[in-house]
């Protein structure tokens, strides 16, 4: 599917989500949205603006601060034939409803041999920057990738923000969508018509022969910057892949690229340990089975909780220059080092909080 099949119309990432939900709610009266503040004047970062007014307060409504029961109640409504979309202002709060998501939503279909599928969309926002601190900055996509029975999307383009939402709403299974706070204001082409981003299909955003950069969520922006930096400053051609769908995961596209480049650098917006980067590297390594050397490396959060103060926060995250540097080391060999200049990340710098 081309990113430009809708012509030149652009929307923000947040606007794309809003449009997807509104159009799906229009199309299908069983779709509804519930979550803290979805009907307030802020409208969940703009993504739910106007929905309550347009579709009524029983199709877009605020909830008590009860993540566990609200998730359970969404599951119950799903069992009764509705299609709930449940929002979380931070993925950190998902830790309060892991039981409902992992023990119930992910298992209900299997445990009852197909009789109780749970068509549920869970939206989790990853916070970052400007002192969000240790409890408002975590990304737990790997927790859901670990467990069979739940699908995971992590769009990075406004185009996919809409496509993933549509696909998630129409799917008959629980789907977690990881949305990165830094992406909400990013503009990009978004067709007006309804379309689905397919599950299990990665997107090659830039092609190159020297190294494969697989990046997740917001890190796609940083990896793309790194690829430009690598090309312009040291003549290294990086292929940039956005998996978009983390479960199921399109390993074929990644492996095809690594077959060509022989080098794989995976960058995540979370810790590496037992994370998505571990899985991708492990699968590539398993598939290679030693038949030909392949270099692999991972970048992610520093192995610490996220510090609040800016100077430490800056070092906590991978960024274009740290990605470029790592890629350079892999391509040019251990002997050489390069300390590329820090590349500005507008979406990060523009964010002045508070939330």
């Amino acid at each position: 599917m081309s990113l430009h099949d809708g012509g030149e119309r652009t929307l923000t990432f947040a606007g794309a989500i809003q449009e997807a939900m509104a159009q799906e709610m229009e199309r299908d009266p069983t779709v509804f949205v519930l979550g803290q503040g979805v009907d307030d004047p802020i409208g969940f970062y703009g993504t739910t603006l106007g929905l309550a007014e347009r579709f009524g307060s029983d199709r877009c409504f605020d909830t008590p601060l009860s993540e566990d029961a609200v998730t359970g109640m969404a599951i119950g409504a799903a069992l009764a034939g509705l299609r709930p979309i449940n929002t979380h202002q931070r993925m950190d709060f998902l830790l309060l409803c892991m039981n409902q998501l992992v023990n119930i939503a992910a298992k209900s279909c299997y445990m009852f041999a197909g009789a109780m599928p749970v068509p549920l969309v869970v939206r989790g926002v990853v916070g970052r920057s400007w002192g969000q601190g240790p409890q408002h900055s975590q990304a737990f996509h790997s927790y859901f990738m670990h467990v069979p029975g739940i699908k995971v999307f992590a769009p990075s383009l406004p185009y996919d923000a809409k496509g993933c939402m549509v696909a998630a709403i129409r799917d008959n299974n629980p789907v977690l969508i990881m949305e990165h706070r830094m992406l909400f204001n990013v503009q990009g082409p978004v067709p007006e018509h309804l379309y689905e981003t397919p599950f299990g299909q990665a997107r090659v955003l830039r092609s190159g022969d020297d190294i494969t950069l697989v990046a997740i969520g917001h890190m796609v922006m940083e990896a793309s910057r790194a690829a430009r930096q690598l090309a312009e400053e040291v003549g290294i051609a990086a292929e940039v892949i956005d998996p978009v769908s983390l479960a199921p995961l399109d390993m074929a596209t990644i492996c095809r690229s690594v077959q060509k480049t022989g080098r794989l650098l995976v960058v995540d917006n979370s810790w590496t340990n037992c994370g998505a980067t571990a899985e991708i590297v492990a699968q590539v390594s398993e598939q290679w089975q030693g038949s030909r050397p392949v270099q692999v490396k991972r970048l992610g959060f520093a192995p610490t909780p996220c510090p609040t103060t800016r100077p430490l926060e800056v070092d906590f995250y991978p960024h274009a220059a740290s990605i470029s540097k790592a890629a350079f080391g892999m391509v040019r060999g251990d002997g050489q080092e390069w300390n590329p200049e820090r590349v500005s990340a507008k979406e990060v710098e523009a964010f002045k909080g508070p939330f």
């Binding site: 029983d58 909830t63 008590p64 009860s66 566990d68 029961a69 609200v70 998730t71 359970g72 109640m73 969404a74 599951i75 119950g76 409504a77 799903a78 069992l79 009764a80 034939g81 509705l82 039981n99 409902q100 023990n103 119930i104 209900s108 279909c109 299997y110 445990m111 009852f112 041999a113 197909g114 009789a115 109780m116 599928p117 068509p119 069979p148 029975g149 699908k151 008959n172 299974n173």
Partner: protein, 319 residues
């Protein structure tokens, strides 16, 4: 026991109670043969709440229950052979063997699948009832739960939500006084659950004496409130008594964590015995014979049903 002259009612209740008890006695009898390879939480002694409430339900009404679900499954009209086959892990089981005793389901009779994590089903029931309400559907949801589940945070969260949205739902708390071996007094300062939840603004009632007719009357009042279009949630607490060990087929009075003396009053009101004594001998005989035959056939069916094929392991992960 309250007097009633309605002999059809007595027979109906007795049939349901006797059937549940006998099915579970058979399960207990068979258990040591290792044919049933999964944890069973028997309802023996506490069949009455399920029977009393379900006797008043419409077929379309929806019930949510717990891993201790045999009584509710049968009282709601669940398929007996499919249940026994499920306990055997056979492909004709109500969940094709994938669930076992803790995960019974019969969507035909609106018995929702049960889960093994205490209290998780409570918000499902609320969400389901809310969805029916929103869709203007007339049927009602009844959520059975144990006393232990009232200590989980999700219970309070669910009650708050139900009260807030005036969700038409009947909670039935089967208070058997224990969570595994822990008496309720070791788990809460307030053993009277109706009292503990009094602040939520949900009407409630408590039946303390084990009398199945009183349970049924209380359920009738409760259901009337819940069926009222202006109604909302209702909470019914029923004291009852698990006679077997928490999980498994045995008695456990020897363990010493509880004594028969504590539940003398409830035991004296055991409705299986009481109703038996009240029926005409012939109709009792008829009921029992029919039930025994049905049970025999059900176990036969389970015995003969095959196990699922290996490839079923990978089926139904996703819809």
């Amino acid at each position: 026991m309250e007097q009633t002259t309605d002999s059809a009612l007595c027979e109906r209740l007795y049939r349901s109670l006797y059937r549940i008890r006998r099915v579970e006695e058979e399960v207990a009898r068979l258990y040591p043969t290792d044919k049933i390879k999964s944890p069973v939480h028997l309802s023996i002694g506490q069949e009455a709440p399920s029977v009393a409430v379900c006797d008043l339900l419409e077929p379309e009404d929806v019930v949510f229950g717990t891993y201790r679900g045999h009584a509710l499954y049968l009282a709601k009209g669940g398929d007996l052979p499919a249940m026994v086959a499920e306990l055997y892990g056979k492909v004709d089981g109500c969940a094709r063997g994938k669930g076992g005793s803790m995960h019974l389901i019969d969507m035909q009779v609106h018995m929702m699948g049960t889960t093994a994590i205490v209290a998780t089903h409570i918000p499902h029931a609320v969400g389901y009832a809310w969805a029916l309400q929103r869709q203007g559907k007339p049927q009602r949801v009844i959520c059975f739960l144990g006393d232990g589940s009232t200590e989980e945070g999700v219970f309070s969260e669910s009650l708050n939500f139900a009260a807030l949205k005036r969700v038409p739902i009947l909670f039935v708390c089967e208070n058997n006084g224990y969570a595994i071996h822990s008496h309720i007094s070791a788990r809460s300062a307030q053993s009277d659950i109706v009292q503990r939840i009094s602040g939520y603004g949900i009407p409630s009632a408590r039946v303390e004496d084990g009398d199945i007719f009183r349970m049924r009357e209380a359920a009738r009042t409760a259901l009337a409130a819940v069926r009222d279009p202006q109604g909302g949630p209702y909470f019914l607490e029923i004291l009852t008594c698990r006679l077997k060990e928490h999980v498994g087929p045995k008695d456990d009075w020897h363990m010493g964590y509880r004594s028969r003396a504590d539940i003398q009053a409830l035991l004296a009101n055991d409705p299986v015995d009481q109703l038996a004594a009240r029926l005409q001998p012939e109709s009792r005989q008829q009921i029992e014979t029919a039930v025994e035959q049905e049970i025999e056939r059900a176990f036969q069916y389970a015995e003969e049903s095959p196990f699922p094929e290996q490839e079923e392991l990978f089926q139904d992960v996703f819809a």
